[in-house]
């Protein structure tokens, strides 16, 4: 690991660059000693170094049926690299039940946003015996699930925290041999069933850290070293702690909306073997018939799977545009089609410029992008120009491409929403709409031509995943950028002092889904808008005007005299700087980075909107 460079950047106060470097180094280093040495050096230089590297404050409790001190520093590093200023509470060996169930435990008093529970098969209280029938087996599985999930519910009810619970790695021995695959009571077989049951019964605030899958990927003999279990109650061997920390940090990233959204890929020697401009459609290697061609086809298939779960795909290639399109229209083995991509840049400009253009075209941040290119020089050019972007170290071996990209865990999600499944389609609709707008001279005629209809409703459970996702992922049209967990947002929905609203929108091109989220607290005769954000794909559609009208309506119903708007500037939300002014609010002073606006409800005027309400 290149500690020196991370330390040097940190010393110079270039925290963003230090974090980017740290993230890149941790991604490829599995040496536990190197991780510890880096954590120690950073802490020696500045006791708050690991907090200073992150920008998003978070409170994380570490609990478990294992010794947790050895996991703490790797976890701190991985969380810092992911952008979190995580305050970590490390609790005692095997204290997890007490910590979760006792109303005054240090965990409860710590009020974590997130609890990470480290468990191993040795924490399972009840195992079946050979004489147990299927019904008895099911009972044992139920009781074991309750043993782990009930305390999660108690802790969640008390603190509102989300919980990351790991499932169980397989046992190191197979006492029933191969027959265990057929015997439901055999311990190895039972563990598989228990893992499935815990995953199925886990409520929305419990997120599974798939240690069963991770130990399988790493190899169980590497994952579990029984000597260290006996000596130090360490359920994860030291050579695997880095991987465990990276995996856990990726779940935290997904929970707090820091996962990436868009994959920008090169074409030549990335999606197919060879150079289309030199080798021609007959000459490039792709598809069945050649081993290398099969490897590229497998990579395309992997990218298609990512697209299906909501990752946006974009092309950035140094090519003649017409030539770059050729394989998409003419090569029979192309798995990816032209319409699978939401942006397509083939030209001779520096790739960093194209990457910036793609992010801006899609209305997403550069920190939401991943850049994949087989050429180290291109990766270096983009990496130097754009710190926030993630750039996996692709090898020159296409058979490894899917695994290299997969191991970066860039696109981790904690739930799947309907919007995820049709995201590419939605971006295409937005582009068509943008093109129509470019040709229309009269904006209001254009907006009317969209025939937009909206439903405005409070937060509803069925949309909760999407509400949380939008709240945590929106950077630009976001007045306060408060990142909240699902639990916090549910509390708000059921709190009578809160007004919560969402907007679902449809136009003649299709259903745009849930596109805007609003929450405000009513105290006495004042309603303070704590959060207001909107998906950028519906910018300039008069959704904000529609919502403002609804807010005034609600304010009147609740006898509110004054609405207070808050704007907290960030690097990204400049576009809503004057939103409240545009909606008729009056300036009301500034304090601690907060800019305040007020609107006496009596003086509120109806804003012009081109959207009909009620019934999609």
């Amino acid at each position: 690991m290149n500690k020196g460079e991370v330390m040097e950047l940190f010393k110079r106060g270039e925290l963003g660059a230090a974090r980017a470097k740290l993230s890149a180094e941790l991604q490829v280093c599995d040496d536990y000693r190197a991780w510890l040495a880096l954590a120690r050096e950073l802490k020696t230089m500045d006791s708050n170094a690991l907090l200073a590297l992150g920008t998003i404050p978070s409170r994380v409790a570490l609990l478990g049926g294992a010794t947790l001190e050895m996991i703490a520093d790797p976890l701190r590093l991985a969380l810092a690299a992911a952008g979190f200023a995580a305050e970590l509470l490390v609790t005692g060996y095997n204290q997890f039940l007490f910590e979760m169930l006792n109303a005054e435990s240090q965990t409860v008093l710590f009020a974590p946003q997130l609890a990470i529970l480290v468990l191993s098969p040795y924490n399972i209280p009840e195992w079946p015996s050979p004489q147990d029938d299927r019904a008895k087996l099911e009972e044992i599985i139920e009781r074991n699930c309750a043993f782990f999930l009930d305390p999660c519910r108690v802790l969640h009810d008390r603190t509102g925290c989300d919980i990351i619970l790991n499932n169980f790695h397989p046992l190191p021995v197979r006492s029933w041999g191969n027959l265990s695959a057929k015997l439901a009571f055999a311990p190895e077989n039972f563990l598989l069933r228990l893992n499935l049951a815990v995953g199925e019964r886990a409520p929305s605030y419990v997120h599974i850290n798939d240690v069963a899958g991770l130990s399988n990927q790493m190899g169980l003999d590497r994952w579990f070293d029984s000597r260290y279990w006996y000596v130090a109650k360490q359920p994860i061997a030291y050579g695997c702690l880095a991987e465990y920390a990276r995996n856990t940090a990726s779940i935290v990233s997904a929970l707090l909306g820091r996962s990436r959204k868009c994959l920008i890929v090169d074409l030549d020697n990335t999606l197919w073997g060879g150079v289309i401009g030199d080798d021609g459609i007959e000459g490039i290697e792709l598809g069945e018939g050649s081993p290398v061609g099969e490897a590229y086809k497998a990579f395309q298939t992997y990218l298609l799977e990512l697209k299906r779960r909501g990752v946006l795909l974009a092309v950035c290639s140094k090519n003649d545009p017409a030539v770059a399109e050729l394989p998409f229209s003419q090569h029979p083995e192309m798995v990816l089609k032209r319409e699978d991509f939401v942006a397509f840049r083939a030209n001779w400009l520096p790739k960093s410029e194209n990457v910036r253009a793609i992010a801006s075209e899609l209305g997403i941040g550069l920190d939401a992008c991943v850049f994949v290119d087989d050429n180290p020089a291109e990766r270096a050019e983009v990496g130097q120009a754009i710190l926030e972007i993630a750039i996996p170290e692709m090898s020159d071996e296409p058979a490894e491409y899917p695994r290299i990209l997969d191991s970066g865990r860039y696109f981790e999600i904690v739930s799947l929403t309907a919007e995820d499944r049709r995201r590419t389609e939605t971006y295409h609709q937005r582009q068509t709409a943008t093109e129509i707008r470019a040709s229309a001279t009269d904006l209001s005629a254009y907006l009317r031509s969209l025939q937009m209809r909206a439903i405005v409703r409070p937060f509803e459970e069925i949309y909760m995943d999407r509400i949380v996702q939008l709240n945590n992922k929106t950077n630009q049209f976001n007045l306060t950028t408060h990142r909240l967990t699902a639990s916090q947002m549910r509390c708000m929905a059921s709190d009578p002092t809160y007004v919560t609203l969402t907007v679902r929108l449809q136009d003649r091109f299709g259903d745009l889904g849930l596109v805007s989220v609003f929450y405000a607290k009513v105290e006495g005769s004042t309603m303070t808008i704590e959060g207001w954000l909107m998906s950028c794909r519906v910018l300039n559609r008069s959704v904000e005007q529609l919502l403002a009208n609804e807010v005034v309506k609600v304010a009147r119903e609740r006898h509110v005299a004054e609405i207070v708007g808050v704007y907290i500037p960030t690097e990204r939300n400049g576009m809503v700087k004057s939103l409240y002014l545009d909606l008729g609010f009056m300036p009301s002073g500034e304090k601690d980075d907060h800019v305040y606006w007020r609107l006496p409800v009596e003086e509120a005027k109806t804003c012009e909107t081109f959207i009909e309400t009620g019934g999609l």
Binding site: D31, Y32, R33, A34, L36, A37, R40, E41, T44, T67, E69, M70, R227, Y228, Y230, V231, A232, Q234, Y238, G239
Partner: protein, 84 residues
Amino acid sequence: MNTHPEIWNKLREILADILGVEDIDLQPETTAKNIPGWDSISHIQIMISIEKAFSFRFRTGELSQLENVGQLVERIGRRVAGNE
């Protein structure tokens, strides 16, 4: 101290990485108690770092029962030489 100079050097590096003690006065009779920061947690971290640096595995019994640094170096030396 005269035997296994390369082991002593690597051990110093490991202690520097894990404990942050650079100019440590490491003698054969030095025990964990004499070195600030060498507690039960860092002891395990030191042991696994030794295993990785010298490519062998301690026995379970050895992980917690070592009297002093001299004995530790002797043990490493024997294991590295394949005499045990």
